[in-house]
């Protein structure tokens, strides 16, 4: 696949390297320095940094402003955008704003329902869904048009990303079909949900390879290390669409509490090593939730360091 945008992430994967991304969750306040601090921790170990968009529907400093900050620090941002809170007018406007600052990667999401967050009483928007947001970015970039048909003089240059969850319902076949649908809509890279159930992930990847999806988009495997047994249990029981097999829980149970974090990192590194060998995997998306300082260790341990220069 030839790169189509100025995105460094795209160039790295197009050159055949495994891409590495991580994410920064902005603060629940106006502290821009926190984003810079988190950016500094990981910048030499990843190709681009996602900034979440009010994740789990909790109000946080906005993704776009955070991305601009990262960009100004010389870090390549991936603007995450959910369709939950903004209609097509606001989203297209934000895409243009991002592009005007040289932001060249986007992750198009539908977003968690607001029920999960700190404003469950809010109205929701969902004018578009994730697939339609992908279509929108593609239309703006490749045809220079807004959804209204208006032709722009200057088009946004955006490497189009989407997420997919191989472990959600109804079944793995449907989840692969939905991956295909996102790719058909225009997604060029996919960051998966956190992977714990490796056999199921492999099943999903096999369908993706057989259907030719992996020839059209880069699949980046989602990795989230467990910080503790409590976190693993929480992920298993409380987070919708998360699939944590019992053997991983048992493994954490087998080590003393103060060693669980270390074990969690070890497990994540083993996963990266194993997933590297899975056909179709073209990179890793490391989501070390409120544990950004561990990203360097994971990247090094996974044999993904140093990052290629393009």
């Amino acid at each position: 696949m030839e790169p189509r945008t100025p995105s460094k992430l795209e160039k790295i994967m197009a050159a055949g390297h495994l891409g590495v991304t991580s994410e920064v969750g902005p603060p629940r306040g106006a502290d821009g320095a926190e984003i810079e601090h988190k950016g500094h921790l990981i910048k030499d170990y990843v190709d681009a940094v996602n900034v979440t968009d009010n994740q789990t529907s909790v109000v946080r400093l906005c993704s776009l402003a955070s991305c601009i900050r990262l960009k100004q620090m010389g870090i390549e941002p991936v603007l995450q955008m959910t369709t939950r809170d903004r209609n097509r007018i606001a989203m297209q406007s934000d895409i243009l704003g991002a592009a005007s600052f040289g932001i060249h990667n986007m992750l198009c999401l539908t977003g968690d329902h607001q029920t999960f967050g700190d404003h469950p009483m809010s109205a929701n928007v969902f004018d578009l869904d994730s697939v339609q947001l992908i279509q929108t970015v593609k239309l703006m970039r490749d045809e220079g048009k807004l959804l209204s048909g208006f032709e722009m003089k200057v088009r946004p240059q955006i490497f189009i990303g989407a997420a997919e969850n191989p472990f959600a319902g109804p079944n793995v076949e449907l989840r692969a079909l939905r991956l295909g649908k996102k790719i058909a809509a225009g997604a060029e890279f996919i960051q998966t949900q956190c992977i714990y159930n490796i056999p199921k992930f492999k099943e999903w990847m096999k369908i993706a390879v057989d259907k030719g999806y992996t020839d059209k988009a880069y699949i980046m495997a989602g990795i989230t290390p467990f910080k503790s047994l409590g976190m693993a249990r929480y992920m298993k029981t409380k987070v919708p669409g998360m699939d944590v097999p019992d053997n991983l829980i048992d493994r954490l149970k087998g080590v003393p509490k103060e060693k669980q974090a270390e074990e969690g990192i070890k497990m994540a590194i083993e996963m990266i090593q194993e997933l590297k060998e899975v056909p179709g995997v073209r990179g890793f998306h490391i989501m070390a939730i409120e544990w950004e300082e561990k990203v360097p260790e994971l990247v090094k341990g996974g044999g993904l360091y140093p990052r290629p220069q393009v």
């Binding site: 539908t110 999960f116 339609q132 997420a163 959600a168 109804p170 809509a185 949900q193 669409g241």
Partner: protein, 232 residues
């Protein structure tokens, strides 16, 4: 049909506590079916109000009635004398009926006696479920007959999202995932292939997003009134 539930008695008492002559006006349509605003509920509310006024030592006169439909002015006209005789009216029809009654008897105070929720079905005794959001441009033909707008919490046209688990929606283990149901039905119909094609953004102008909606059916306006119509 339209589904409503009775408002809490305290809320209603709070509206009418300073009035003496109350008309409780029910409707024989949808709200009778969902047992929120028919004659039975009008009587229950009327008795509760009488009890309240008596205990509070206040003079009162509470009258209960229902009409065929509060969303038709021909039927609303039947209420004329009773409305005129009352200081305040509590309508226990749906939000449409309450408003049309208010429109007809504009110098009278009218209070809502129910909360109107949605268009839905009677799933079981006392269980009503939403099925249609009145989007004005029905897509059921391509979604296996299951509405993605009313039955997906994110009204997605390209679901299911990543939160669908074991047939349930991410918002609650008690809420079926609309897209899970759509997928199952498409599979049964041998139409899963249609699932792989992205569905374009919807035109919401025909939904409430386009502003208050009016239907003008010229064919009906020209035609003679039919059996079952109140316009005779």
């Amino acid at each position: 049909m339209i589904k409503a539930t009775p408002k809490p008695l305290e809320e209603i008492i709070n509206y009418v506590k300073d009035f003496n002559k109350i008309l409780v006006a029910g409707c024989d349509g949808c709200v009778t079916v969902c047992e929120a605003g028919g004659m039975k509920e009008a009587k229950v509310l009327g008795s509760a109000l009488r009890l309240y006024y008596t205990q509070a030592g206040k003079d009162h006169e509470v009258v209960e009635t229902t009409i065929t439909r509060q969303c038709d002015k021909e039927y609303l006209a039947e209420l004329k004398d009773m409305v005129e005789n009352a200081d305040a009216v509590i309508s226990i029809a749906c939000g449409c009926g309450i408003q049309y009654l208010t429109e007809m008897y504009n110098d009278k105070i009218v209070f809502p006696g129910v909360d109107t929720h949605f268009m839905g079905i009677n799933a079981d005794r006392g269980i009503f479920e939403e099925r249609c959001a009145g989007c004005g441009q029905c897509v059921l033909a391509s979604t296996g007959g299951i509405c993605p707008i009313a039955r997906c919490s994110k009204r997605m046209l390209n679901g299911p999202c990543g939160g669908s688990e074991a047939g349930k929606c991410e918002i609650s283990k008690d809420t079926p995932c609309g897209w899970h149901l759509i997928y199952e039905r498409l599979e049964k119909l041998g139409q899963v292939d249609s699932f792989t094609k992205p569905v374009d953004p919807k035109n919401w102008r025909t939904s409430r997003d386009g502003g208050p909606r009016v239907i003008i059916r010229e064919d009906l306006r020209k035609a003679e009134p039919q059996h079952g119509s109140a316009h005779s």
